[in-house]
Symmetry: C2
Subunit: 436 residues, 2 copies
C-alpha cells in the first residue's frame, strides 16, 4: 500500500523555497512590529470551545471551526483566530502591566473552509494589538504600524489603500439619527456590510424589511454616499452630531500629522461584522485590478475583556494573513527572488585524502559565523560550480593532493571569478577575503 504524498486538503507543504518566502514575510513583520516597541507573544494551538463561543457566538463556531472532544472530555478547538487567546492572556496580566501594552504574534490558524484562491485551511496571521492608549493615539499608531509594514515590503499608495470608518459614526447614524432599535441596528450593519456587493434594488429590498420610516431611509442613503472625511464631518454636524464629529476630527487630524493621509479613504460600508468593535474599523485594500480585495482588517474595541468579567481596557489591532499578503506582493512584483538559499562558502575537495582537512576548514569557518556547505565526497571540478550555484554560495574552496601536500587551498570568488591560493593555517587571510 503506497500512501498519499500530498498534504491534507487546504494545507501547504513548505519546501525550502516556499519556507524562505514565509521566513521573509515574517522577518519583515517582526522587524516592523519591534521598531514600534511591540513585544512578541504566543498562545496554545488548542483552546476550549467555550472561549470562541463567548467571543463570536454559536454560528461561526459551528460552521468553520476544527473542534473535537479530547480524551479527558474537554471540548476543544484548533485556534481559528488569535484574538480570543490574546484577550484571555491580557485578562491574566493587564492589572499589573504598565500601559500601553504593545503586542504582536504570528500564529498558525485553522479554519474549515472550501479551499480557493486566497483561502486555505491552515494559514498564518500577523496580529498586532495595542491596549490602554490615551485618546485616539492607539488607533493612529496601529495604522502607522500597518502602513510601515506594507512600505517595508516596498509597497506605497499606488499599491494599497486603507478604507476606514468609525463604529461610533455608524452607531450615531443608525441609533440616534435614524432611531433604529438595537436589533434594527444589527440588521443595518449586516446590510451595510453587503452594500457594495449588491444592486441598489436588492439594497432597497433589504432596507424595506428592517421596518424603518422614509426619513430614516433618506438618512441611510445619504450616509452610504459619504466619500471623504470632510463630507462625514459636514453630514454629522448638519444632523447635530457635533460631539461625534469633533471626536472623529481629532482622529483625522492625528492621521494627517502621522503622514497617513495619502493612504486613508473614508468608506461608510466598512463596519467589520463582529460585535466587539467600538471605534475605528478599517480594511487595507489591494488597488491592483486583478487582486481587488481586502488584505488586512482591524479596528478599535473597548470591551474585549468583558467575557472574563474584567473592567474595560480599550484596545486596537489588526490581522494580516500570509496567503493574501503573498498574493498581494506577487501581483505587484514586490516579492524578492528567494528560489535559492544564501550561503557563504562551499567547501569541496577533489581527492579522498583531503576529507579531514576539508572538514576542519569547514568547522573553522562556521565558528566565524559563516554559512558553510560541505561536500562529503571528492567532487570533480566540473561538478563543483553547478552545485555551488544551487546552494547560493559566494565562495568555493578546492583542495587536491597538490594543495594538501603544501597545506593550501584554492579559494574562488564566484561573482568576481578571482581565485586565491592560500595557506590553510592563514585563517586571518582566508576570513578577510570571504568577509570583504
Amino acid at each position: 500500500m503506497a500512501l498519499n504524498k500530498q498534504p491534507y486538503r487546504g494545507t501547504r507543504d513548505f519546501f525550502p523555497k516556499d519556507k524562505r518566502v514565509r521566513d521573509y514575510l515574517f522577518a519583515v513583520m517582526t522587524k516592523t512590529a519591534e521598531s514600534f516597541g511591540y513585544e512578541s507573544y504566543d498562545g496554545p494551538l488548542l483552546e476550549e470551545v467555550e472561549l470562541y463561543k463567548a467571543k463570536s457566538g454559536e454560528e461561526l463556531i459551528n460552521e468553520q471551526i476544527y473542534s473535537f472532544t479530547d480524551r479527558g472530555e474537554r471540548f476543544v478547538a484548533i485556534r481559528p483566530e488569535m484574538t480570543p487567546t490574546l484577550a484571555r492572556m491580557v485578562a491574566q496580566i493587564h492589572r499589573e502591566s504598565s500601559k500601553p501594552l504593545r503586542w504582536f504574534s504570528i500564529p498558525n490558524l485553522m479554519r474549515y473552509e472550501k479551499p480557493q484562491r486566497g483561502r486555505v485551511r491552515e494559514h498564518w496571521q500577523l496580529n498586532c494589538d495595542v491596549f490602554g492608549c490615551p485618546g485616539r493615539l492607539g488607533e493612529v499608531e496601529i495604522l502607522q504600524v500597518a502602513v510601515e509594514l506594507f512600505q517595508s515590503y516596498g509597497a506605497n499608495s499606488t499599491h494599497f489603500e486603507i478604507l476606514l470608518n468609525d463604529r461610533a459614526i455608524a452607531d450615531a447614524v443608525f441609533k440616534t439619527m435614524m432611531k433604529a432599535t438595537s436589533e434594527q441596528t444589527h440588521r443595518l450593519y449586516k446590510i451595510v456590510d453587503k452594500a457594495k456587493k449588491i444592486t441598489h434594488e436588492a439594497l432597497q429590498k433589504m432596507f424595506g424589511e428592517v421596518g424603518l420610516d422614509s426619513v430614516a431611509e433618506n438618512i441611510f442613503y445619504s450616509y452610504l454616499q459619504l466619500k471623504t472625511f470632510d463630507e462625514v464631518k459636514i453630514f454629522l454636524e448638519k444632523n447635530e452630531q457635533n460631539e461625534i464629529a469633533e471626536l472623529f476630527s481629532i482622529f483625522v487630524e492625528f492621521t494627517k500629522k502621522a503622514g497617513l493621509s495619502e493612504y486613508l479613504k473614508y468608506d461608510p460600508t466598512i463596519v467589520r461584522g463582529l460585535d466587539y468593535y467600538t471605534g475605528i474599523v478599517f480594511e487595507i485594500f489591494d488597488k491592483h485590478p486583478d487582486n481587488r480585495r481586502a488584505l488586512c482588517g482591524g479596528g478599535a474595541y473597548a470591551n474585549l475583556l468583558q467575557i472574563f468579567n474584567e473592567e474595560p481596557l480599550p484596545g486596537v489591532g489588526f490581522g494580516l494573513g500570509d496567503v493574501t499578503l503573498r498574493d498581494f506582493l506577487e501581483v505587484h512584483k514586490l516579492l524578492p527572488n528567494l528560489d535559492i538559499p544564501v550561503n557563504d562558502v562551499f567547501v569541496t575537495f577533489q581527492e579522498d585524502d583531503c576529507l579531514d582537512a576539508a572538514l576542519k576548514l569547514a568547522q573553522l569557518l562556521r565558528k566565524n559565523n559563516l554559512k558553510i556547505v560541505t561536500s562529503l565526497e571528492p567532487l570533480k571540478f566540473k561538478k563543483v560550480f553547478p552545485t555551488a550555484e544551487k546552494k547560493g554560495v559566494k565562495f568555493v574552496t578546492l583542495m587536491g593532493s597538490d594543495e594538501l601536500a603544501k597545506n593550501q587551498i584554492q579559494l574562488k570568488n564566484l561573482a568576481s571569478k578571482e581565485q586565491h591560493t592560500l595557506n590553510l593555517s592563514d585563517v586571518e587571510e582566508i576570513l578577510k577575503i570571504i568577509k570583504a
Copy 2:
C-alpha cells in the same frame, strides 16, 4: 459567566518574557543549522492518520495522538512528530534533488500526555535531517550539528554527553551471534531499552521469557557490559563480526577527526525503540544530577520512504524539544536573562503641544532601523526612567515647551547618564550618538 483565563491543560501561554526565551532558543537552532547549510522547511499542522499508522503502528497512534474526523469524513491528527511529514515531503521531491539534502524545521507538535516536568501536550521540536550522504559521513555531520548547537548555548562536555550505539551492532549481536529470530530480536530491543531502569533479576526474568539458550544469554550480558568503542570492537572481532566491527571503526575514526570524541560514549542500551533506524542511534544526556535524562535523540535510517513505495534513501537526523532544552539550560544556568525586552530609544514629551514633534522624531528614528517606544501622552520627568527601564531602552528623548520653541530635544544615554541638547533638524548628530 466568567470564562477560565488559564490555557488548555498541558499547553503554555507565551507572555513576552517567555516568548523571548523561545525566540532565543529558536534563533540559535536556526543559526546553527544554517551554518551547516541546512535549509528550513515546514509542513501542515494536520496529517491523515494513515501516515502515522504506516510509520509507527497502531499502538502509538491510539494512545497519544490528537485525532478526529473532519467535516469531510477524513480521519486526521494534529502532528505528534515531524518525521512522517518529512518523509512525505522528501518522497515528493528526492528524485530531482541534488544530494545530500540537508533540512531542518522547528514545528509545534501535540501529544496527549499527562502533563509533568519536561512533558507537556504542546511543544516545539527542532528536527535536523540529512539525506543521501555517502558512507558514514551523514551520521558524523548530524552529530556535529547537535554538538555545535549545544556549544552555541554555552554548553560543553561537562554539561552533556552523547550516548551512542549502532543498530547494525545490536542486530549482529541478536540475530547473528545469539541466533534470535526477528520476533525474538524485537523483544530483545524492548528489553535492552529498559535495561538501565530495571533490576538485574527483572532483566533475567524478561530474558528468560524470550526463549533463547544459555550461550545466547551469556552473549547478551557480555554485550550489555560494553562501555567503550574499543571494547565493542574487540567484542565484535572475537565473535567473528569483522565487517560490522570495521564499518563501526570507520565511523569512530571520523568522529575523532571531527572533534566529537570528548562527547561520545558507547552505550549498548541505546536502541531507540522505533523500527526504522538502521545505523547509529543516539541520545544526548544531561550530566547534571538534578536533570539526568535524555535531551535529544536521533539516528540513521535507510528506508524512511518505503511507506511511499520509494526506493531507499539513507538519512540520519535528530529531534530536540524546547521544554527539555529549556530545563537543561536553566539547571546549568546557561539561559541569558531575557526578562526585559531590548529597545533603542524611548521617545517622550513633557507637554501636550510636543506630541507632533515627538511622533515625527519617532518615525524618523524607526526609518533608521531603530526600535522606538513612544510615550503617547505627556510624561512627567520622574515617570520617564522607570518606564524606560521596563522597556529596555538605551536612550531617552525628552521635550518640553522650551525645547519645542528652539526645535530641540534632550537625548539621554541611560547607561552613561550623558545628556545632549540637540537640534531636531540635526538628524545625523542624533543618529551618530544613538548608534555609537
